[in-house]
């Protein structure tokens, strides 16, 4: 970067301006020192490029702008000391010259203008007059992990306050880097080496890391020529700072999965952590189906627990949120406990359990297993259960009618009612229906890779099967029929005996 500027200075003016050249050479030397690759990571400082855009306004003349830049440089030194090797300059190339320049500048452009082998951090600052005030915007670009911070904004009364405000916004948006040195899966601990950790900041409030801070894990995939192929951040995974010993940090792993980062075979993969602090009061989370991300999960309950690990007890009662029609919930930041665990339910089934630190981003997508097949099966099983209940009630009422008829010795009526018992659906038929409900959706869920859903469908069906056997088994009808037949036989016997007695009595009366 410096060299290209130098070439421009020589080629454009056609002659060499000696003081400018000397300044360039000095700056180049200081930045190159920061890029010494033989240094330990905690001894490496940050090469920081600060680009300040001023709105095209007569209220901020060039001399005043230079004053702002000089003052900013001084403040940076007093805040970060040896940790930062910064270069502060006014940017006149980014367009439009509004605050939108910060959001519209593309990662590709920044990668080209500020290569990762020269710079670690780039700060885009924008200063504009707004009535009686000055608006100040700052955004950080991390050249190593190729990511932007959120845009931070402040309003000040005078131009004199601008450098101090920009500097305080640097402290807010600065995202220090750390390298993962060891991952202890048993204790779920991760050991990090903090970049420039051996250079404590002169200003204690600008310390890179404090206990309780959170790191976002990231992987940097390199090719054979040590060129970056891909950078991957892991949503829903965090390292929470437990112990700090200058550049050595011990963190607990907060993750919904067993191994969030690390493991074997990580050749040519650099493992990083990026310290990030909440800058917003809440984060919007959109719940969607993982196989159809455009379909939101509407009216799903999400419970938020304040705890650091899913095994821990929550420190207070969970707060319940309900996803809206866009499948969005807004989780507010709890400053006293930034890490929250979200339990996402679909009816009684748990769809997902993820940790989140609200406020570090404005929006996160949360793809979840498609539960619609299970819900469809649940509806069909409810329907079948209803049918079973009706069958039980119908059978009871027919049996009651038969009993009444049998008691009254109305055997013709009994004979008319008994076949109605056989007309009712049998347990075998209902089990067949249950199997039909179960098999196809289970196969569909497995086809979609939703094994949990398939297991849940199977469990739902398995729970219903004993219900059928218990209440609609054929034994109950057979024993009832046997009892009726026994009653009929005894009634007939009694009738025959009565008839015989009557015949004897009549014979006796006739004197035979």
């Amino acid at each position: 970067m410096i060299h290209s500027v130098l070439q421009q200075v020589i080629s454009k003016t056609g002659r060499l301006c000696l003081p400018l050249l000397l300044l360039m050479v000095l700056l180049s030397a200081s930045v190159e020192a920061a890029r010494d690759s033989n240094l330990e990571f905690d001894l490496e400082t940050y090469a920081v490029n600060i680009q300040v855009l001023f709105q095209d306004q007569s209220e901020i003349p060039p001399a005043l702008r230079q004053q702002v830049l000089n003052r900013l440089n001084q403040l940076n030194e007093s805040t970060y000391g040896e940790l930062w090797k910064q270069e502060v300059s006014e940017n006149k190339t980014f367009l439009p010259r509004t605050s939108e320049a910060l959001t519209r500048t593309s990662p590709e452009q920044l990668k080209k203008d500020f290569p990762a082998d020269t710079w670690d951090k780039v700060y885009l600052c924008y200063v504009a007059r707004n009535g009686f005030y000055f608006d100040v915007f700052v955004r950080e670009w991390d050249c190593v992990l190729e990511s932007f911070s959120l845009v931070e904004q402040e309003q000040v009364f005078s131009i004199d306050e601008v450098p101090a405000t920009i500097n305080s916004l640097f402290v807010r948006t600065f995202r220090p880097l750390a390298k993962v040195t060891k991952l202890d899966k048993t204790d779920r601990k991760v050991y990090l080496t903090l970049r420039g950790g051996e250079f404590p900041t002169p200003d204690a409030s600008a310390a890179q890391v404090v206990s309780g801070d959170v790191f976002l894990p990231a992987l940097r995939y390199m090719d054979k020529n040590n060129q970056v192929q891909k950078i991957q951040f892991f949503d829903w995974n965090y390292f929470r700072v437990e112990e700090i010993d200058r550049g050595r940090i011990v963190c607990s792993v907060i993750s919904g999965v067993q191994t969030p980062i690390g493991g074997r075979g990580l050749r040519r993969i650099e493992q990083y952590g990026m310290r990030i602090r909440p800058l917003r009061s809440s984060t919007e989370i959109r719940l969607s189906k993982f196989n159809q991300p455009n379909i939101p999960l509407v009216a799903h309950y999400v419970s938020s627990f304040l705890k650091n690990s899913y095994r821990d007890e929550a420190i207070e009662e969970p707060i319940r949120y309900l996803s809206n029609r866009q499948g969005v919930i807004d989780i507010p930041l709890r400053k006293e406990h930034p890490v929250q665990w979200l339990y996402i339910n679909s009816g009684s089934a748990l769809l997902g359990r993820v940790p989140v630190v609200p406020g570090i981003t404005e929006h996160i997508e949360c793809p979840l297993p498609d539960d619609s097949t299970r819900l469809e099966v649940e509806g069909q099983i409810e329907q079948l259960k209803g049918r079973i209940v009706e069958l039980i009630a119908m059978r009871s009422s027919i049996m009651a009618e038969i009993k009444v008829a049998a008691l009254k010795n109305k055997w013709d009526e009994v004979d008319a009612l008994l076949p109605r018992l056989d007309e009712l659906d049998t347990a075998e038929e209902l089990k067949g229906q249950l199997n039909t409900i179960r098999v196809l959706p289970m196969q569909e869920a497995e086809r979609l890779g939703n094994k949990v859903g398939a297991r849940r469908i199977d469990a739902l069906a398995r729970k219903t099967a004993p219900f059928i056997d218990k209440y609609l088994g054929s034994k109950a009808i057979e024993s009832f029929k046997d009892q009726i037949e026994a009653d009929r036989a005894s009634a007939q016997k009694a009738a025959e005996e009565a008839a015989a007695r009557k015949a004897e009595e009549e014979a006796a009366a006739r004197g035979e």
Partner: protein, 454 residues
Amino acid sequence: MLRRLRLYSSPYLSNWVPTQLGKKLTFDLRSQFQSWEPFQPLNSFDLYETLQKKLDPTSPESDERLQNYIGEVVIKSPTRFEITFSKVPLRPEAILSFPVKHRVPNPNPDAESQSAINDLFLPPSRYELKESTENSRTYIRSTPEPDSNSRFHVAAIKEIKYSTIEKAVQALVRGEISMLPSVRGELVTLLQEDGRFFVQQRSLPQTFVLQFNPDTEMLKNTELRRALAYGVNRQELLHEIILQTDNPDLGRVISAPYPTQNQAYNRLTELRPYDLTLAYSLVQAAKTNLKEKFGPLKLVCVPDERIRQAAEKMVTEWGRIGLEIELVDENAPVDLKSGWDIVLRQHRMAEPIVEIWPYMTLAEHAKAENLVDLPSWLRQHLVDLENAGDLRTATRSLQLLHDHLQANVEMIPLWEINDYIVLRKTISGFPLSPVYPYQNAEHWYSQAWFQTGF
């Protein structure tokens, strides 16, 4: 959706044209009205303002469904505006059917405040209430017709309340009134045979449904809901009390809360028969399951004399199978928190695809938060219906929903009744199959009537 082509119309719109496969809808507003038409012209800004209120989540008029569908509203001119949908709705007219208030200058403005803030927003009104007593209300045309007209449209409408429908029919025959807005049952046949009246069938039938309060724990028991369904002799109540005739053209027993003529009505769904013995067995099963939770219930009924009589009969029948149900006073409030357990509702559903969600949640608008009281499978059904990409999928989804609602007794659909508007033949200019009684009333003519036939 009905077998006949459903047409929407608005006196304020000259046309609306969908483009980009329905993603965009361009509306053209009528800029001029006839001198006799009682409409205050609307402009694009009035509509934009109304839509913005509905799209603003913080506004009391906020409409969650519209927010989900509408991406952008652009004013092209004072009489033309465009709506771009972020998601193409299956029935755009149905979701955009709402009254629009127009801005008028305040006749008594506050001198200190700005003029725009002083403006009043008035709902559209063709006829304005002039007089109201306990038994009558008089409305007059909001824009009087010019004296130069050779023929005058209806200038005033007087509504008179009668204690019974028979007295109302008597008044019609005597010439006290010229129109009855809703007549059903055997009276329809009598009036059709009379010859002095136009008897026009309403395009949407009345549907009567028993719905359960989602907060009532006892009614979450499926056996109890089934017992209630089996314990109602719907056929007998319809023929003997409500219609007082067994003419199937005038009313029928149904299994879904929307018209049987709708293509989403699943004709394969079985009607639940009247079976008091089975209902008794189910009540016993419910008692066993509910234990101490089993207790008396409260039924709220629509304020309709015949329907209330039928409800009284239902309560008696339910009493025979061991259910203690109290029929609440007809003026009792019917909001969800007012303590009722079952409600006998009357409605006309034109677009079940759009209307079933708010109907099931007993709410005015389709809100996601209202779904939480429903079983998860039913919630999923309603969301899937909302997300259906084409009419065929939506119809199939609604048919499935019909089947599931009936099987799980999530509500008890009772009757569908065809009611009629009866007008004396001195009235002309009314539509042939009206959706509502005063449809196009500003176009009607009324001629003098002299009693004859003595």
